[in-house]
């Protein structure tokens, strides 16, 4: 075997190993997802755990969601007015702000913020529980960590995301209103009436909610899996936390494209 063949073989081996390790992780994450579904009944018996997690992932994320939404709404109001006034349709600013938020920015930005704030917290917490043998201790007490720790966090994430996305859209519209009406001087009646006439509940609002539920599932399962799969060391937990943000962000953007394509074509 000459040198070139050896190098080529090593190259393919490296690609193969990288691919198989990713496939293995995807398989493990899928397995975790199904285990969560299986153990959900056990988990719902301890509903207080899910409620507690809704508080930690949802209520504790409210500040960042509300502040970000307000600024996003204000920027949309400014940018939208600047563009629309060129075409003499500055009254449509309300529609532009509302549709941008309800269809796209609400679910997507909320999910990105959720991954950064709640997702990393979930990964770090579970990773540390693993590193300090708390999960093993639970197993040895004949208590399933999937039912007691993982499933409540999963359902909390799934329930919380659409609520946070709705709050984001509402506050964003308010931000747009503050810039467009009191500051720029767009007619208030035109702002609200155009919004009411052009935002469709089923096509715009419900589709936005569907997106946020899907993003909630994706972000939470990624955060949970990364924590559960993290090597039980400080470095392992730190790497897992970083992976949560990177993987969740990419998954959100990719899923957004796929969902939008289906929603527009359907």
């Amino acid at each position: 075997m000459n040198i070139n063949t050896k190098t080529l073989l090593k190259f393919f081996e490296k690609i193969g190993r990288s691919f198989s390790s990713r496939a293995l992780r995807l398989g493990s994450a899928t397995r975790l997802f199904f285990l969560i579904l299986i153990y959900s009944a056990d988990s719902f018996k301890r509903i207080h755990l899910t409620i507690r997690e809704i508080y930690f992932t949802g209520v504790m994320s409210l500040v960042i969601i509300i502040v970000s939404a307000f600024f996003v709404g204000m920027v949309l109001g400014l940018q939208g007015y600047y563009t629309l006034q060129k075409y003499g349709s500055s009254e449509a600013i309300g529609v532009l702000v509302a549709l941008s938020l309800v269809r796209e920015l609400g679910p997507v930005v909320t999910a990105l913020l959720f991954a950064g704030r709640a997702g990393t917290a979930i990964t770090a917490e579970i990773g540390l529980m693993k590193a300090t043998e708390q999960l093993s201790a639970m197993e040895m007490m004949a208590v399933s960590p999937i039912a007691r720790i993982i499933a409540p966090r999963f359902w909390a994430g799934v329930i919380t995301m659409p609520i946070l996305a709705s709050i984001f859209s509402m506050v964003g519209v308010l931000g747009g209103y503050v810039v467009a009406v009191p500051i720029i001087g767009v007619d208030e009646g035109a702002f609200w009436s155009q919004m009411q006439a052009n935002v469709d509940f089923r096509f715009d609002v419900i589709n936005g909610l569907i997106k946020s539920v899907v993003f909630g599932i994706a972000c939470t399962i990624i955060a949970l899996f990364e924590g559960f799969d993290a090597p039980p060391t400080a470095e392992g937990v730190s790497r897992a936390t970083t992976r949560t943000v990177v993987t969740s962000s990419l998954a959100i953007l990719a899923l957004d494209f796929v969902l939008t394509s289906f929603m527009i074509s359907g």
């Binding site: 540390l128 300090t132 043998e133 708390q134 093993s136 007490m141 004949a142 208590v143």
Partner: protein, 264 residues
């Protein structure tokens, strides 16, 4: 030995192709305190995990109270684990629960006892380890020794038949070490349980254990009562007990020759 609650027969275990244990036989008699000793990385904790069903043997078997552990499904293993209590190396207390809630955890999960009974039982368990007064502290507020004692109270919460201790003396000051030694012996005798301690602390273990296994190179290198092992002429046992720097366990890790490394 007869009347064993745990029997390990011809047990081999490894990760991938590397075998950590080859053909281990151990018996743990009811009501006794047995210790598994050996150097770091000799697979002592792995034996506890095999007993608890967290790992499956490559060959051989672990039998707990007449049940072969690795042949059980999840429910069977969970049934077996309800007979066991385990103290982890650093306590493994749930950091989001108070001391009281940590000890109450197994009771809440596995019994339908009313709250007033749970409260009394938890305080009794904490009293047994001398920490009734610390019931409402959070784990970060405890010292290492206190955390270990709370974990011990949690391990005996359901009065288990078997109590397993993973390095119970690691990182403790001499007073805490003496307290833990005393608790292991007294709780074992008071509960009529069987205790298994994984450790490398010679003085403490020899002071109260009934029977000791030495594990080295994947096999049981020696076994016997503390008295028998103290008199042992086996080089490994002598080196371990007397903390000799060199012996069958070499000071130097495997390395190329000096000539090769230093280009002599």
């Amino acid at each position: 030995m007869t009347n064993s609650i745990i029997s390990i027969k011809d047990l081999s275990f490894g990760y991938g192709d590397r075998l950590l244990h080859t053909g281990i036989d151990m018996e743990f008699p009811r009501g006794k305190v047995s210790a598994i000793m050996g150097g770091s990385g000799s697979g002592k904790t792995t034996i506890l995990r095999l007993i608890g069903g967290q790992l499956k043997p490559t060959s051989g078997q672990v039998e707990v109270d007449g049940t072969i552990v690795h042949k059980q499904n999840r429910d069977g293993i969970y049934r077996l684990r309800r007979k066991m209590g385990m103290l982890f190396q650093h306590g493994a207390l749930f950091s989001d629960l108070s001391v009281f809630e940590n000890v109450a955890f197994p009771m809440r999960e596995h019994t339908n006892l009313p709250e007033n009974i749970i409260k009394d039982l938890v305080l009794l368990k904490l009293n047994a380890v001398g920490l009734r007064g610390a019931a409402y502290l959070m784990p970060p507020e405890l010292s290492g020794g206190m955390a270990r004692r709370v974990a011990l109270a949690r391990a005996i919460a359901l009065d288990p038949d078997i109590i397993m201790y993973d390095e119970p003396f690691a990182g403790l000051d001499p007073i805490s070490m003496a307290v833990i030694c005393d608790l292991i012996r007294s709780l074992n005798d008071a509960l009529g349980a069987t205790s298994i301690i994984v450790t490398h602390d010679v003085a403490e273990t020899f002071s109260f254990a009934d029977y000791i296994y030495f594990v080295a190179d994947g096999v049981v290198a020696a076994e016997g009562s503390p008295k028998q092992l103290m008199a042992s002429k086996l080089p490994f046992v002598k080196q371990f007990i007397h903390a000799e720097k060199d012996g069958p366990v070499p000071f130097h890790y495997n390395a190329p020759s000096m000539k090769e490394d230093f280009a002599l």
